[in-house]
């Protein structure tokens, strides 16, 4: 049993009754990585906990994607209203939507984090698209990610840069399609 899995179970015992089952999938995320280079820790601000953040290493000069999960253990809704990532020129919150066989990205300027639930940013769901003028994000790096929430304020999360191919292992079941966990 990996250290990440043990941690996931401990978190699960702390969860309040209102948390959706999707949280378990989110918990088995980036933190499950066996190597220290792509492991991430969870951080909390107020009732919010940020889990399993990771950045998929961009291919060439193309945009990268930032993924994580937010759990809201408080009694009131909050909202993610801004993302700033160190050494990245631009960070936009997007949601991948699929309709009638076509998938595309929609801007999601603010994402509600409902009370007692978790919202997953993962492939095929929400992601933060990162644009850099040059390829400054490289596998193995840790990057400071600043998430700004309407109520809870801004929190910094140290986030590993990983390969796209590793998301399958790191995000586990969360990699499967099926929307954003809540909303």
């Amino acid at each position: 049993m990996s250290p990440g899995r043990r941690r996931a179970i401990r978190y699960r015992t702390e969860l309040t009754a209102g948390v959706v089952l999707g949280v378990a999938a989110a918990l088995a995320g980036c933190g499950q990585a066996p190597s220290s280079s792509d492991s991430s820790t969870s951080v909390s601000i107020g009732p919010l906990t940020i889990l399993d953040s990771c950045i998929a290493e961009p291919i060439g000069a193309n945009p990268a994607a930032l993924y994580f999960s937010v759990m809201n253990r408080g009694p009131v809704d909050d909202a993610l209203v801004g993302v700033v990532v160190e050494s990245v020129d631009r960070a936009d919150i997007h949601r991948t939507v699929e309709h009638a066989g076509i998938a595309w990205m929609e801007p999601a300027p603010d994402v509600t984090i409902p009370a007692g639930r978790s919202v997953r940013f993962g492939p095929g769901a929400y992601h933060v698209m990162l644009q850099t003028s040059s390829s400054r994000l490289r596998r193995g790096m840790h990057v400071g990610v600043h998430l700004r929430f309407q109520r809870a304020g801004t929190i910094q999360v140290g986030t590993p840069v990983v390969a796209y191919a590793d998301l399958d292992r790191l995000l586990g079941r969360a990699n499967a399609s099926g929307g954003s966990g809540s909303r």
Binding site: G60, N62, I102, Y164, A165, L167
Partner: protein, 289 residues
């Protein structure tokens, strides 16, 4: 007969023409690499041929250069040609022609085990022609014949779905036994021809997996190809930033080597699913003439 002068027209005609006539343009994407029996395949994999395929070599030099290739050609029963102008690539292609995998598809039993979604009415392999990253026409129906062909429509500026799908595929393909790997082609068609020039497309695919074929054409041509597969046209949505996003189908479409079955793999297909399905899609291996 007078002495032949090097570089003279006679010299050119005598040696140049047969050489050109027997010369195959080296196109790694299109080469039917042979599915060799396991002991030979293992040795071929271990044999260092770095740099060799781009050079013209006579069959004599070929034999010296690689005993394994010579053996492969003999295996194909086609090594009786007199020593003359031959390309390493040509010889390998010959060997490939004689022992390429049979066009068997998966059995009905294998099909039932697939995790991908078998289309209720199997479409024939669509007949469309686009241009590959080397600038050559690529006729899909012909190229897909006898291969498991995995077709995907996407674009390089895509941060989420496209690189995840392709990186997953590449990771799994790299773990497959060599013989099986040779029977699978991945074809990526850009839905963003304005930004994805042939160079951009090649660089991006090389970063994902250099063996992946990249195709482009006008948006109308790409849409026409998609229509043959029942995929709605590409959506291009302008953004205030001056950028635009591209809406495209999210599934990888697989065709079996016999061209009879189409299987769709939705976004969210895991590496374990590919590892499970690819051998089934390829069907049984049958080598020899």
């Amino acid at each position: 007969m007078s002495t032949l002068r090097l570089g003279s027209p006679d010299h050119r005609d005598l040696f140049g023409e047969p050489f050109v006539a027997s010369h195959r343009i080296y196109e790694p994407e299109g080469l039917p690499w042979p599915a060799l029996p396991p002991p030979l395949g293992a040795r071929a994999r271990a044999d260092d041929l770095t740099g060799a395929p781009t050079r013209a070599v006579t069959s004599g030099a070929l034999r010296r250069r690689s005993a394994v290739i010579a053996e492969a050609v003999r295996f194909a029963g086609r090594f009786s040609r007199p020593a003359g102008a031959a390309l390493l690539a040509g010889a390998v292609a010959l060997a490939g022609a004689a022992c390429r995998p049979a066009a068997d598809g998966p059995s009905a039993r294998d099909l039932r085990q697939l995790r991908g979604e078998i289309r209720e009415v199997p479409n024939p392999v669509p007949d469309f022609t686009l241009v590959d990253t080397a600038g050559h026409p690529f006729r899909f129906q012909k190229e897909a014949n006898r291969f498991v062909t995995l077709l995907y429509f996407g674009y390089t500026h895509c941060p989420d779905i496209c690189p995840v799908h392709l990186a997953n595929l590449s990771a799994v393909l790299n773990e497959l036994p060599w013989d099986l790997r040779q029977r699978i082609k991945v074809v990526f068609v850009t839905t963003d021809p304005d930004r994805d020039t042939r160079v951009v497309l090649r660089q991006w695919l090389d970063a994902v997996d250099p063996t992946f074929v990249g195709l482009s054409g006008s948006l109308a041509q790409v849409n026409a190809a998609q229509a043959l597969l029942g995929i709605p046209p590409v959506i291009r949505e302008e953004r205030a930033s001056g950028n635009y996003v591209v809406g495209h189908a999210a599934q990888v479409i697989a065709f079996t080597p016999d061209g009879r079955t189409r299987v769709d793999y939705a976004f969210g297909t895991r590496q374990a699913d590919w590892a499970h399905d690819l051998p089934l899609l390829a069907g049984p291996v049958r080598t020899g003439p």
